[in-house]
């Protein structure tokens, strides 16, 4: 092994082998029993608690924390899973600092919220470690539902439908289920193959068939699904990636951040994964942060995030920004790429400072160059192909209450559908609510 953070180009093995394990270890060590009790004791058991309102899946947080405090984390897990069957993953990846923990009255009182996310993980881990699946299916209804996409929305929908006694078939284009939980989230947030383990655990409900490697528009059409099933739920996420619209985007070394993260998540050996010496990440969301931090953890010498607006406008939370900074990532605000430099392969990015004029951004004319051997685009994803007959709203499948599309018998939720933030927890809520609506429609 001769590579180091200073080796030019995009190369693997920049670090000593043991460094990878340390760098990609759990972001938060799980709470042990004592820590969980101490944390749980801080909950005030608020009336109509603000944390519940702030949770897209409306988990009864004060109740589950009280259940932990009284020595029944298993009951706490049931409270969580009743609202959010992917409560284990959400405990790991939710931006709690902008959801439940931001609303916690102890955040208001002392600037230190109850550790809701970590307590949720404590509870869900306890029950999942026991191998217990807490739900059973209702009597078979004889109805069948197709779910497209085995990500958070599709899985939440499928699980709720299966609970109600319907037969569910999930189709997913990728070789594995889990969607972004499996392919799109930073590795240090979901260690030890948690996404896969959670999927297996979820499937224990029964009545769900998962068919991988089957893409809508390739292996089946919406019409064929409608013909074969009593209802269809679309939760295939966003397959397309926005273009940079800067000169030189086609140079070698420019790639999509989602692909980079996906490769990383599926890599058997992180030391075999190539990464640039100088990495520039373009964008301001969680994907940008995840890609930037992981580039650094893979051994890049410098990693810079270019975000075209100011800090306050950044979709990634302040917590995530600080996490990135703590790992050595530099965030340059109010700057946009105008050209990718290099002769064949990337050697740098030319950026221009911006200023806001009303709602639009203008270049100030002042530019600067950043050295780069790798450029990761994290500037948003798009729906890609849209099945005929569906109406779009802002580039996503238009849905009304509980995920109804304009097409009878077809529901949609998650990132591919309009409304809501593109978060795991939002996708779960949408999938669950669509399932309830489908159930109502099917059994009348």
């Amino acid at each position: 092994m001769t590579n180091s953070p200073f080796t030019p180009g995009i190369v693997p093995g920049r670090l000593q082998p043991e460094a990878y394990e340390a760098n990609f270890a759990d972001l938060h060590e799980p709470l042990d029993g004592h820590e969980a009790l101490v944390a749980a004791d801080r909950c005030y058991f608020c009336h109509d608690a603000p944390c519940i309102t702030a949770c897209p899946t409306e988990i009864d947080i004060p109740l589950f924390i009280r259940q932990i405090a009284t020595g029944t984390p298993e009951a706490a897990a049931r409270t969580i899973f009743h609202q959010n069957i992917l409560g284990g993953m959400c405990a790991r990846v939710c931006p709690t600092e902008t959801l439940c923990e931001e609303a916690c009255v102890r955040e208001i009182a002392e600037g230190k919220p109850v550790l809701i996310g970590q307590l949720q993980r404590y509870a869900t881990d306890t029950l999942m470690a026991a191998g217990v699946h807490p739900f059973t299916r209702a009597a078979p209804t004889g109805k069948s539902v197709a779910v497209v996409g085995a990500g958070p929305a599709g899985l939440a929908c499928a699980h709720r439908l299966a609970m109600h006694g319907h037969e569910v078939t999930i189709y997913d284009a990728r070789p594995k289920g889990g969607g972004l939980n499996e392919y799109g989230i930073a590795a240090y947030k979901t260690v030890e193959n948690f996404a896969e383990a959670e999927l297996d655990w979820l499937m224990k409900i029964g009545g769900i068939t998962l068919e991988t490697g089957k893409a809508l528009g390739v292996d089946m059409t919406l019409d064929s699904l409608k013909a074969e099933f009593d209802a269809v739920f679309l939760g295939m996420g966003l397959a397309g990636v926005n273009a940079l619209r800067a000169d030189g985007e086609d140079k070698a070394g420019v790639m999509d951040a989602v692909g980079f993260i996906s490769d990383l998540r599926q890599a058997g050996d992180l030391s075999a994964l190539p990464v640039g010496r100088n990495v520039v990440v373009i964008g301001g969301g969680m994907t940008a942060i995840d890609a930037a931090v992981q580039s650094k953890l893979l051994g890049a010498e410098t990693v810079t995030i270019l975000y075209r607006r100011g800090r306050d406008a950044m979709p990634a939370s302040r917590y995530e920004q600080d996490l990135a900074a703590s790992k050595g990532v530099r965030i340059v605000f109010n700057a946009m790429p105008v050209a990718v430099l290099g002769n064949g392969a990337v050697t740098g990015v030319r950026a221009e400072y911006t200023r806001a004029e009303g709602k639009s951004l203008m270049g100030t004319g002042e530019t600067f160059d950043l050295p780069a051997d790798q450029v990761l685009k994290a500037i948003g994803q798009t729906l890609g192909g849209t099945p005929d007959g569906l109406t779009l709203s802002d580039g996503k499948i238009a849905v009304t209450d509980a995920g109804r599309t304009g097409v009878s018998g077809v529901w949609a939720g998650g990132d591919c559908a309009s409304g809501g933030e593109d978060l795991t927890v939002t996708a779960v809520a949408e999938g669950r609510d669509a399932a309830e609506d489908i159930h109502k429609a099917l059994v009348g």
Binding site: Y44, F45, C46, H47, D48, P50, I108
Partner: protein
């Protein structure tokens, strides 16, 4: 700097903080550590006759916890000292000689026979101890043998034994009372009638702290069985304060010196006991929970408060609150208050709302924006919202000035004091002449 020194029955101590007769005062080693830490005195753990008692060899304590596993109540099935009488006497003598400025009281428990008391009193006197405390309080174990609370529950026995002791020693006699009775005034009166110089209270309360739901045994469990223990710690303080006040304001015992015991954990607790008529306080659970060092906070806190209030000595505090302890029937029914919520300090937890809406008078409103406000028309001023609010002083009770309208009753607040005894709804009301 306020003077914390006390003179209780002629027994002097540099501060009013004594360690109660209990496990912390069973040995020279512990008591010397306590004196080094700054305690004003100790009541040596109860001596009995030889052959000495034995204790269980399993757990002796059970506990009740608050948030963050804060110890709120402790229960104890340990008996009196399980060391030979001679060893204890020798150590008491040595400690008193080495620490002459500290109070040294010796707790005693021997059978209800005058001969037994006559035997032990001279031995204690010989140690140079400053006084004795008669343990008529322990509710567990020894009471099964006709001692401890078995004596304290029969006023005639209290009077009889107190009289024997007064007749057989020159040392001041303090009678330690059990709270496991219906009316604390009767045993206190009996102690006084027997000539006792003072009473100390409360001893521990008969209790089972918990049941082990796996083994179905009370805790602490001794080989699968449990026996009631004596409850102490912060949880018992309100019971102790009331009993102290009952004795302090009873015309038959008013002025009888009291050493206050029961959940004294901070300087503030101690000040409250003093205000209700105690000349000294005795501490156990706080020391057992945090170690002897807690006395530093007790001394500095009491001293600071006395300075702030202009109290120069302990004597100036003792009993100051007693005149304000009265019967319910004399409480002023024309004193009207309403809850007030300080919106700036409210953290919007909604506990006041839940408490009032579910369990009280529906006198707090809640808006969409989680603004909580008192509805004066419904507020009876019960104080529950104040009690459940996690933020100190966020909710307070504000007095309605005389002449203002109480919108709940539709009546103007009267300026004059009026109580139940003259209220028209009272069948036995006597009209003011």
């Amino acid at each position: 700097m306020a003077d914390l020194s006390t003179n209780f029955l002629g027994i002097k101590s540099p501060n009013p903080f004594w360690l109660a007769s209990a496990p912390p005062t069973d040995k020279e080693y512990n008591v010397v550590r306590a004196f080094k830490a700054g305690w004003g005195g100790v009541v040596w753990k109860t001596l009995g006759e030889d052959p000495h008692v034995v204790n269980v060899n399993g757990p002796r304590y059970g506990a009740i916890y608050g948030a963050d596993r804060r110890l709120l109540g402790l229960n104890n099935i340990e008996l009196i000292t399980d060391r030979p009488l001679e060893v204890n006497l020798r150590e008491i003598k040595a400690v008193k000689r080495a620490w002459p400025d500290r109070a040294m009281i010796v707790s005693l428990m021997v059978p209800c026979e005058e001969a037994a008391w006559k035997r032990i009193l001279p031995l204690v006197e010989d140690t140079g101890a400053d006084g004795i405390e008669l343990n008529f309080g322990c509710p567990h174990g020894m009471s099964e043998r006709g001692m401890g609370s078995a004596v304290g529950q029969v006023p005639e026995y209290i009077e009889m034994v107190a009289r024997w002791c007064k007749a057989n020693t020159r040392m001041p006699v303090i009678v330690k009372l059990t709270p496991n009775i219906t009316d604390i005034r009767y045993p206190a009166r009996a102690a006084k009638a027997g000539g006792a110089d003072a009473v100390s209270l409360i001893n521990t309360i008969s209790s089972i702290t918990s049941v082990n739901l796996d083994t179905m045994s009370p805790e602490p469990s001794i080989d699968g069985k449990g026996s009631h223990g004596g409850y102490c710690g912060p949880a018992v303080k309100p019971i102790a304060l009331n009993m102290v006040a009952e004795i302090a304001r009873d015309p038959e015992t008013a002025g009888l010196p009291i050493s206050g015991i029961g959940g004294v954990t901070t300087w503030r607790d101690a000040a409250e006991f003093l205000a209700l008529g105690c000349g000294t306080v005795q501490v156990c659970t706080a020391a057992m929970t945090y170690g002897f060092k807690v006395v530093e906070e007790m001394k500095s806190g009491l001293s600071q408060w006395m300075d702030e209030k202009g109290h120069g000595s302990i004597d100036e505090i003792v009993g100051r609150a007693v005149p304000n302890v009265t019967d319910w029937q004399y409480l002023n029914l024309n004193y009207v208050t309403k809850a007030r919520i300080d919106q700036d300090s409210c953290i919007k937890c909604g506990r006041c709302y839940a408490a009032c809406e579910d369990t009280s008078h529906q006198a707090i409103s809640m808006s969409e924006e989680r603004v909580f406000e008192v509805i004066d028309e419904e507020c009876v001023a019960c104080n529950l919202c104040v009690n459940v609010c996690p933020v100190e002083n966020c909710i307070t009770m504000e007095e309605l000035e005389p002449g203002t309208m109480d919108t709940r009753t539709g009546k103007v607040v009267e300026p004059d004091y009026a109580n139940w005894t003259t209220h028209p709804n009272n069948p036995g009301a006597c009209a003011a002449e």
